[in-house]
């Protein structure tokens, strides 16, 4: 009994890194734009599709190539989303970018459906090998790979944010855009760069989802959007550590409930978790520190 619980928890947490990445993407874009980009999960899955279809069209089969291509394509899509949904839409309009990103979500979804005739496509696993046994616990190698890649991506992102000039600029813009401009930081460039970087993260997440499920389907987009938003809210809008922890938490929670209550009921409990957070901890896991000002 206990071992089943642990097994589904571990599996869920390992795959939860993909939720963490999607949550980080939502949160980072919110940090610099103060807007939600609803097309983000859709663009991430779209990027994963691009990787598969582009490498396939070129006659390639390498899973690594598919993976890298997915990340690159999603970065490009991120830039396109910025140009079409944010760059020229007045930020002062409260719903402007929300509507444009909903439009983009539907558009990407539609393109995917047309390109694949609405049929799910097989996705290559990044790594195959024997399961690792920890006592009675089985660690699936493909899940472990997903986890490792996710952690690596987060590490690189953290270094980028806290150790690079672009990272300094990004944090400056998200904390105090007027002062950032007065320091000579060009807002548009930082914004565009944020969309590219989060796009790449999303592409990685999308490819890892494809790899861990074994296939990609347009049906993934909506649940991933909802999960990504839930992770963002539970983690606290704008908090990267929050998104990471919340992603792992939602991943584990959902998988445990799937084990006990079945796949049809599971999302109900995830919503319930969100509800509990909204009522008791609306600021998220690491509610923002109070500041003197």
């Amino acid at each position: 009994m206990m071992i089943d619980f642990l097994q589904s928890l571990v599996d869920g947490v390992l795959v939860g890194t993909t939720y963490s990445l999607i949550g980080i993407g939502f949160t980072l874009i919110f940090g610099v734009m103060h807007k939600i980009n609803l097309s983000y999960a859709s663009a991430s899955v779209g990027g994963a599709y691009c990787g598969l279809l582009l490498v396939g069209a070129a006659g390639g089969k390498s899973a690594l190539l598919v993976f890298l291509m997915a990340a690159a394509a999603a970065g490009v899509i991120g830039y396109v989303v910025y140009l079409t949904c944010f760059r020229f839409i007045p930020a002062s309009h409260p719903l402007g970018t929300l509507m444009s990103t909903v439009g983009m979500l539907l558009l990407i979804d539609e393109i995917v459906v047309h390109a694949t005739f609405g049929v799910p496509v097989a996705y290559p696993p990044l790594y195959e090998g024997p399961s690792i046994e920890l006592g009675e616990l089985y660690i699936r190698p493909d899940y472990l790979m997903v986890f490792a890649v996710g952690i690596a991506a987060m590490t690189v992102l953290t270094l980028l944010l806290y150790r690079s000039r672009l990272g300094l600029a990004t944090r400056a813009v998200s904390q105090q855009p007027v002062a950032a401009q007065l320091c000579g930081i060009a807002l548009y460039r930082v914004n565009a760069a944020t969309f590219v970087v989060t796009g790449v993260l999303g592409g990685i997440a999308g490819a890892m989802i494809g790899a861990s499920v074994g296939m990609l389907s347009p049906l993934l987009v909506l649940p991933l959007t909802v999960k990504g938003l839930i992770v963002t809210v539970i983690g606290g809008l704008g908090s990267i550590p929050g998104a990471i922890v919340a992603g792992l938490m939602v991943g584990g929670f959902e998988n445990v409930l799937q084990y006990y209550r079945g796949v049809t009921e599971r999302d109900l409990y995830v919503m319930l978790l969100l509800f509990v957070f909204l009522v008791f901890r609306p600021g998220g896991l690491f509610a923002a520190k109070s500041e003197r000002n």
Partner: protein, 237 residues
């Protein structure tokens, strides 16, 4: 050094600057005094490129600034210490200063300037690793000044650096202003604290309701009248 000519800046229909002309001379401290809502901050934002004027010209060392982006203007040597300081609250004091040097590319020079800032503002040195949001108001103001200096400006604009600070801190700020000027930085200072501003200014302007209503040197107008007009505006309808 800076020549603002007949600048009109509007928020929608409302013209906050209705044809403002002021100048800042090289090596001098120029002050702009005026009551709340006179348009002082609007002028600072227009000079630094954060707002686009509807009309008029802004020349710095003979080059037109209107139409340039804020970062191009910083690169030309104009830096603003903004109203309310606007430090980056979740970044350390050191990172705030590094952000000030964002456009500069020589790490060795930046490091040297960082040391000089810590020398000039010892309190910032003590708090180098602390996040800026936890500093006191006075310390945040010092940080905002130091951050602006990190871009090595030839002209330093300051928007109400004394705002909300205790008298002792205000004196310290003005001492620093005079010191910076002595070391060769030209300064354009916006203030409501006329008493302190007149002590350091070489030249000053009064601005009321978007128009310059006086231009002269500190001795030229009785301090009482300046204070009256800087706080309340003159009683012209």
């Amino acid at each position: 050094m800076l020549r603002v000519g007949d600048v009109v800046t509007a928020y929608g229909q409302l013209e906050a600057l209705k044809g403002v002309s002021v100048a800042a001379e090289s090596g001098k401290i120029t002050c702009l005094l005026g009551p709340n809502g006179a348009g002082k901050t609007t002028l600072m934002m227009t000079v630094t490129g954060l707002l686009k004027p509807k009309r008029g010209s802004i020349a710095f060392e003979g080059q037109e600034l209107v139409g340039l982006s804020p970062s191009e203007i910083v690169a030309r040597g104009v830096a603003l210490v903004p109203e309310n300081r606007l430090v980056f609250p979740d970044m350390s004091v050191r990172e705030n200063l590094e952000a000030g040097a964002y456009l500069r590319r020589k790490p060795a020079e930046i490091a040297a300037d960082l040391d000089r800032m810590f020398e000039r503002f010892p309190r910032l040195k003590e708090r180098a690793g602390q996040s800026a949001g936890t500093l006191s108001g006075g310390e945040q103001q010092m940080l905002a000044v130091a951050r602006a200096l990190m871009s090595r400006p030839r002209l330093l604009l300051m928007d109400e650096p004394s705002l909300g600070l205790a008298p002792l801190i205000v004196e310290e700020i003005f001492r620093i202003v005079a010191e910076l000027n002595r070391d060769g930085t030209s300064i354009f200072l916006v203030e409501q604290n006329a008493h302190m501003a007149l002590k350091v200014a070489h030249h000053f302007y009064l601005i009321e309701q978007g128009r310059v209503t006086f231009s002269g040197s500190p001795g030229q107008l009785a301090e009482d009248e300046v204070i009256q007009r800087a706080y309340l505006g003159s009683k012209r309808g």
